[in-house]
């Protein structure tokens, strides 16, 4: 960003628009790929083959789906609160996309290199809850409001373990700036925070079990944050008929859908930046550089996204009480123990 400082008002505006649209291009392309991946994984897990008729092994199916969604009629039910109903998908997408501003895609590309990056992501992605509640309320449908209420309860509960896990990474690296956190983990796979980071050997050995647990908890909590199975209670196709977006159709529905997939990569990206070395190459200085950085970041993110898909087609959905139990009685206490232990080890 520092390179574009003396361009005047219009130049700055243009550069800002282009730079802020770049992640959007990425998100849309990524959503197409991931929807395809999700359907293929789902099918093959169940010994099926999924799309086969649109292009080679159905690779054009997401595009066909997209074209279909554009053509669909935009239905707003009579009983809905029209203003909120229209606004809700944009808020959900905004909350997700806003968080992309602080995601370090590469050593030279980050939307906004702010010092409070991790904090900003946690804060702005809470906006999603507002959007979901808005959608559920405005739909004026009992399933939608159930979904919205469940979603609010779930997301707010799981924000605590997520924030605590992020806090642990911040404790070790001493920075909330994700770019700084990534640079801290330079020098190969052994320096990633999941393996204790580049600390002195004794500290590293002591800290590694706790960082592993923290990463695991961050991953589980982020699954719940993005409403993925086994924590997809707000959507729950079988009982709530898609929950808060039952009443949506066409492009508004697609916006929710894209936001959901964008959210998947968002939490994967945060986990990668905090614990898996971000855009740093796993081989130290080998294959590193701005372009390779982008490559490594996306590859690591996609591995986590694949893990999310894999889990989705493995596990059944949790009950509401089990969901709350997991958050408050398992994840949060474990993280408190981790915070105390890591704090003590760092003081050593």
């Amino acid at each position: 960003m520092e390179a574009f400082q003396n361009l005047g008002f219009w130049g700055t505006l243009l550069v800002t628009i282009v730079l802020s649209a770049l992640p959007l291009v990425f998100v849309l392309l990524y959503a197409l790929v991931t929807i395809y991946l999700e359907m293929k994984v789902a099918a093959h897990v169940q010994d099926r083959v999924a799309y086969m008729r649109t292009g080679w092994h159905g690779v054009l199916q997401p595009i066909a789906d997209f074209i279909k969604l554009i053509q669909k009629e935009d239905i707003i039910s009579v009983a809905a609160n029209k203003k909120l109903f229209i606004l809700a998908p944009y808020i959900v997408f905004m909350g997700t996309y806003g968080a992309y501003a602080a995601i370090p895609f590469s050593s030279i590309f980050i939307g906004a290199n702010i010092d409070l990056g991790a904090f900003f992501i946690i804060g702005i992605s809470s906006l999603v809850v507002v959007g979901i509640l808005m959608a559920g309320w405005a739909s004026n449908n009992k399933w939608s409001i159930f979904g919205a209420v469940r979603s609010a309860a779930q997301m707010i509960s799981y924000e605590i373990p997520t924030a605590l896990a992020v806090l642990i990474a911040v404790m070790i690296t001493g920075s909330l700036n994700l770019q700084e956190v990534t640079k801290f983990q330079a020098g190969g796979i052994q320096n990633w925070l999941i393996f204790g980071g580049p600390l002195p050997l004794l500290q590293k050995i002591l800290i590694t079990p706790f960082t592993l647990i923290t990463f695991l908890i961050l991953f589980v909590a982020s699954l719940a944050e993005v409403n993925r199975t086994p924590f997809d209670l707000p959507e729950a196709e079988s009982e709530l008929v898609q929950g808060f977006f039952t009443e949506y159709s066409g492009m508004r529905w697609a916006l929710f859908y894209v936001a959901e997939y964008a959210n998947m990569f968002l939490v994967a990206g945060v986990a990668v930046a905090l614990f898996l070395g971000g855009w740093e190459s796993p081989f130290g200085s080998f294959l590193s550089g701005p372009i390779w950085g982008l490559f490594w970041f996306i590859i690591k993110g996609m591995v986590l996204v694949f893990l999310q898909i894999w889990l989705r087609w493995t596990l059944p959905r949790l009950r509401v009480d089990q969901l709350m139990y997991t958050s408050w009685k398992v994840l949060t206490p474990f993280l408190f123990v981790c915070i105390i232990a890591i704090g003590l080890i760092l003081v050593l």
Binding site: V45, D47, R48, L311
Partner: protein, 219 residues
């Protein structure tokens, strides 16, 4: 102490069972799919599959037994008696055909594929095939007309029957008059066209205008 143990045990159970589940799903990712690409690859139907009905009309003797066996009344049969001077030929099972079959309609949309029409057929001319792809854009196209009689043939057969009946009635009247005139205990003069000997055990041949009940929308 037990509560603590149960707590950690539950966590361990959850993690280990998730690991087992993920191993299973991962192994299934590389299993050959069990489904087939239907329009391109078709599974062979079982030998005794019950799908679309087919009637070999050349063998049909118009006995109406399949229609009576049908629980949903999807078979409509109309027949015209033949006169003694007509030869309708024999079926492939060697049975003599005595009835014209101007209408043999099966409304396959109503058919429930029970197969009850197949066993009663004395000449085995109605069978269930293994064809299952016969969707149509218009429901009327699902009424299959198996009869091969031309309209003029039907008219001819009807006219012939009418003439024969009239002749028989005239003969009967004449015989009755003669009998009345003779006032003798004459042996009953059998009307020739009233009951064809050896007719299949069926209902009385229907008149041309009659319609099987429960057959609306017949083409």
């Amino acid at each position: 102490m037990t509560a603590v143990r149960i707590y950690f045990n539950n966590i361990w159970l959850a993690l280990s069972s998730i690991a087992i589940g993920m191993r299973i799903t991962m192994s299934h990712l590389f299993v050959k799919s069990v489904t087939t690409q239907y329009p391109d690859v078709k599974l062979k139907m079982p030998e005794r599959a019950r799908n679309r009905l087919y009637v070999n009309i050349d063998d049909c003797i118009g006995c109406d037994q399949c229609s009576m066996a049908c629980p949903v009344d999807c078979i409509t049969i109309e027949t015209i008696k033949s006169t003694p001077d007509q030869d309708l030929g024999t079926t492939s099972t060697g049975q003599k055909k005595r009835l014209h079959v101007p209408v043999f309609d099966i409304d396959i949309a109503k058919c429930c594929y029970c197969g009850l029409c197949v066993p009663p057929c004395p000449t085995e001319c109605i069978v269930m095939t293994d064809v299952y792809e016969f969707s149509e854009f218009d429901r009327k196209n699902l009424i299959y007309n198996f009869s091969v009689m031309m309209p003029q043939d039907i008219e001819q057969a009807r006219a012939k029957l009418k003439k024969a009946e009239e002749e028989a009635a005239a003969k009967k009247a004449a015989a009755a008059a003669a009998a009345a005139a003779a006032k003798a205990a004459a042996p009953p003069a059998a009307p020739p066209a009233d009951k064809p000997a050896g007719a299949p055990p069926s209902q009385q041949p229907s008149t041309p205008a009659s319609d099987t009940p429960g057959q609306p929308g017949k083409s």
